[in-house]
């Protein structure tokens, strides 16, 4: 692993441009800026092509002899299949509006991290092979030959894009760089050029139902420990069910919440909330993953992994589905699931059994986001909340890229947080809601070997957190995404020490007054709650 530079060193970002044109600067692989190569066993598990041992720093990537043919054929196929891809290749006028909107460009100063130039890496090949002018005039028409160096450059930079789509908010043509990156990665994947941090979870999810590879008895055991903690904190014993046929609702969460802190505190929050309102729901050990790392490899793989959610809903005979706090899961649910694996006509349009609210917005997918569900409960006064139990926290909210730009969940989490916390402060307007900055680790880039890339990419987000820390004393960064819960703690430790990270339902759980609970002296982390002000006067 590369030695980690200090924040002082890392924040000196060089934005000067090289003198030679971008096409003539071959890619340089810098330690700490890329992820480890995929392992053959991970690719073999899902029948991905060219599974073999390889290492990024090796000269020879062990590609099939006809790799160039494979790439060009794959581009041709996708240009015909996806009108969006052809449009994005053709219409960019290189105005540069996107250039300084990318967190990876802001954090690295590397011009190839400008979205316009990242797209140009593949667009130049498109011009050379798929447009008349490029075929005749080559470089003069902005085209370039597809060489091994070009391919390596694709790999390096398509795995330095987190598919966050902030650039597309500012593009006057609405070019979606995430889709270009997705297609770039899909083509690389045909040559076995993946990263293990994505390929491993994909293989696990395919074989065992979730990215971490938690087997049913492991999930059960993890939950037992969480249930014990809930009882220690609240005196209430929750009793969640697994794979229960005939439940009204299937609940699907990201598996990170069932394993890693601080996600586990959010997981405990889900269980406490559902217990308190008496929801007739079940977890599944088969559809035990809300996230979909397949989405970071290929459309087909994402579809295969996604299919188990409806399959399980049908098998268990539930009426509808609630999904947990996950980011990219929701881009998949909102924009792809119905087309891939729908219509889910064996399910019903979700109706909250507590409030009677019919979620018409989920009329086709039959699946709602837990932020919508909880906000609706609060709106109807169905929860007994004591926000003062979060008074030791000064909270801000990080919109994850996919729930904000991918589906417009902007106000529900804020509504919930403001009802369970007394101290809430927004980060600057240009860094939240649709314009939110990525955590720097999305789209499967939250490995450890690329930590410098992650810290650089997360720099703009961290900067905005620092602003509210300095002005309002913010000490808690709330979010509704499992990658955030995994990625933001090291980012905060590095750039903004003193700020902790929590999922929204951890904060809900702190404030939730449960029937029959004992007096709370600890928060969800089993840390002592500060004595309430004025308590000594009583």
């Amino acid at each position: 692993m590369a030695k980690k530079p200090t924040p002082e060193e890392l924040s000196k970002i060089n934005y000067s441009l090289p003198y030679t044109g971008w096409m003539y600067n071959p890619v340089e692989f810098k330690d700490g800026m890329f992820c480890n190569a995929s392992k053959p066993e991970s690719l073999n598990t899902v029948d991905f092509p060219n599974a073999r041992k390889w290492s990024v720093k090796d000269e020879d990537w062990n590609l099939p002899e006809n790799w160039k043919e494979i790439v060009l054929e794959a581009m041709k196929e996708r240009l015909e299949k996806y009108r969006s891809f052809r449009l994005f290749m053709d219409i960019c006028v290189r105005c540069g509006a996107c250039a300084d909107k990318c967190h990876f460009f802001l954090g690295t100063g590397d011009p190839k991290n400008m979205p316009v130039l990242r797209a140009e890496l593949i667009r130049s090949v498109y011009r050379r092979y798929f447009t008349k002018s490029g075929q005749m005039l080559g470089n003069l028409a902005g085209g370039r030959e597809l060489t091994l160096d070009v391919l390596k450059e694709w790999w390096y930079y398509f795995y330095q894009c987190s598919e966050c789509r902030r650039c597309s908010v500012f593009c006057p043509y609405g070019i979606d760089q995430a889709e270009i990156t997705m297609i770039g990665r899909e083509i690389l994947n045909l040559l076995g050029l993946n990263i293990e941090w994505i390929a491993g979870p994909v293989a696990n999810c395919f074989m065992k139902g979730n990215h971490l590879g938690l087997e049913p008895h492991t999930i059960k055991s993890n939950f037992e420990f969480m249930i014990d903690d809930i009882e220690e904190i609240t005196g209430v014993k929750v009793d969640p069910s697994f794979n229960r046929k005939g439940a009204e609702v299937l609940f699907v969460a990201p598996s990170g919440d069932m394993f890693g802190d601080p996600g586990t505190y959010t997981c405990m929050g889900y269980m406490m909330l559902f217990h308190e309102i008496g929801l007739d729901y079940t977890w599944s050990t088969y559809a035990s993953e809300g996230g979909n790392f397949g989405f970071f490899t290929s459309n087909e793989m994402a579809k295969r992994l996604n299919s188990k959610i409806y399959a399980e809903a049908q098998r268990l005979g539930v009426k509808w589905i609630i999904g947990g706090e996950c980011g990219h899961m929701w881009r998949v649910m909102h924009q792809y699931m119905d087309t891939w694996n729908g219509p889910a006509d064996f399910l019903e349009v979700p109706v909250s059994p507590i409030t009677g609210t019919k979620f018409e917005n989920a009329g086709s997918t039959k699946m709602i986001h837990i932020a919508e569900f909880t906000a609706d409960l609060i709106k109807h006064g169905k929860l007994n909340l004591d926000p003062s139990r979060n008074d030791h926290l000064k909270v801000t909210f990080h919109d994850s890229c996919n729930t904000s730009r991918g589906m417009g969940i902007l106000d529900e989490p804020r509504y919930v947080i403001k009802n369970v916390c007394n101290n809430f402060h927004e980060m600057p307007e240009d860094t939240i809601r649709e314009k939110t900055f990525c955590c720097g680790s999305g789209s499967g880039l939250n490995a450890s070997e690329n930590m410098e890339l992650r810290l650089r990419g997360g720099f703009p987000r961290a900067n905005a957190v620092k602003h509210v820390q300095q002005h309002h004393g913010v000490n808690m960064l709330a979010n509704i995404c499992a990658i955030d819960r995994a990625a933001l703690p090291p980012l905060m430790n590095y750039w903004v020490p003193g700020v902790d990270v929590a999922g929204m339902h951890e904060l809900v759980a702190n404030a939730l007054v449960m029937k029959g609970e004992k007096e709370r002296t600890q928060d969800m982390r089993l840390e002592d709650l500060p004595e309430k002000e004025g308590a000594e006067d009583v």
Binding site: N36, E196, P201, H211, G260, T264, A486
Partner: protein, 110 residues
Amino acid sequence: MSFELNGKSYETDDDGYLINLEDWNEDVAKYIAQQEGVEMTDAHWEVVNFLRDYYSEYKIAPMIKILIKEMKKMFGPEKGSNAYLYQLYPAGPALQACKIAGLPKPTGCV
């Protein structure tokens, strides 16, 4: 990547984790610990042995919550804390102790 020990070659991934988990033995653990700058004492072995037992049953490293609680149960309250584990394994029990115990790194949203 790989390393040689007692005339045998052991394959590792780019971060030094063992590729073949059945390659693990106490000498290998000591070697990896040495690379990590950790000197294995009885206290270190308690953690490593627990991790290996847990892995053989659950096929993944334990959540920290479980590691701490089980350590407390087996070896007493002073050993059931995050601080104690970090004292033994400064780079973190999840990464460093698991690496020495020959367990694969959990991947995904963690």
